[in-house]
Symmetry: C2
Subunit: 219 residues, 2 copies
């Protein structure tokens, strides 16, 4: 084992980051779910939200027949690289999540009617959440990972959707499918096939592995 000659904790990376090298990590995302995931896992980071016009990039890539996976990865890279230029010494984490239901892509709802329409469209069907994460350094992508999960939504009545939107309030605008699986959104589904962290917007376990490899976290 390489660890048999491990140095004292103070001289190397710990579970809560590397005090010795202080390798900065920046999360290029305004999502509080992603920030919570990273924080709970012990990753030290700061947040810098990129100003990428995601909808317009998505539309233009769609016109080029890009796949859902392509678009998620390209958007994650765009965000990571944009912020990396501002923090060239840091590891910058960019990510993106696409919701694909039978070839139709969905955006975060902008108002209650939009959220109602989203849930009506997804009701009784399976959809895919495709989540990409990219790490950039010095303005270039140095690592990426992708994962997707299948969400089986039960048939929802109009009344149920209205009641759901009344109950969850503004939380509905925080995610692309108008639900949080970790909250009342659990009532919308009969099954989830795939990784929970991917549902929440970040393939966490591969990312932690990358951060260990780069000395940010203890091995």
């Amino acid at each position: 084992m390489a660890e048999s000659a491990a140095t004292a904790p103070s001289a190397g990376p710990t579970l809560l980051g590397n005090k010795a090298t202080d390798m900065p990590v920046v999360l290029a995302s305004g999502s509080r779910f992603r920030a919570t995931l990273l924080r709970n896992a012990g990753v030290p980071f700061t947040v810098d939200v990129p100003g990428v016009d995601e909808a317009s990039v998505r539309d233009s890539l769609k016109a080029e027949n890009a796949t859902t996976e392509d678009v998620a990865t390209m958007l994650a890279e765009l965000k990571a690289v944009a912020i990396s230029r501002k923090h060239p010494e840091a590891l910058v984490i960019g990510s993106d999540q696409m919701l694909d239901c039978g070839g139709v892509w969905f955006e975060k709802p902008v108002d209650r009617d939009h959220a109602h329409a989203t849930l009506t469209a997804l009701s009784g069907k399976s959809h895919r959440l495709v989540t990409a994460v990219v790490v950039a350094r010095a303005g270039s992508r140095i690592w990426h990972a992708m994962d997707n999960v299948t969400m089986r939504m039960r048939p929802l009545s109009n009344d149920f959707i209205a009641q759901y939107l009344d109950t969850v309030g503004d939380d509905v605008f925080a995610s692309v499918g108008a639900y949080q699986l970790e909250g009342l959104g659990a009532q919308l589904f009969t099954g989830v096939e795939g990784d929970y962290f991917t549902v929440l917007g970040l393939p966490l376990l591969p990312l932690l592995d990358f951060l260990r490899t780069h000395g940010v976290l203890a091995r």
Copy 2:
């Protein structure tokens, strides 16, 4: 759709429970993770912790060559039924989680040395978490579900385990594998195959479906 003639929310079940019938739900478990899962999903319930001697039941069933699945289900039933006798009118939720690593069963660690030994034994291997949930009413089991997930733990050095135990503190005693996937425990794994709610100790989606069928939650 049956919901086309839906009654006003105040007269039927809602996402936050059924105010009209006030069908009581009791969670027969002292686990704060299970309580949090149910609460976040909107289920109204009270907690009544059963006084079952789980270790002795597990040992005696092991001597009878019961499978991991059998034992989890029987323990969940034992807990649900015991509490159901005290609350015969309620739907009582009992559950149990078994950790099986190559045919060896693990218990919740009782002290730090035990937790260290558990993580040493699981290091570099895959183990299964087998989670059962039983609902009892009037002293009898009326429903059950079971699910299992495979957890792939990376090889952990002795130093890492020591550092992990220093960092997580008493949380290590709250779960059978000495980890919480939703916290620093994420650093222990390279992969999780299966349902996140099952990892946390409750197959939540089938249980919510049951509660909808029984008028506790809105359909």
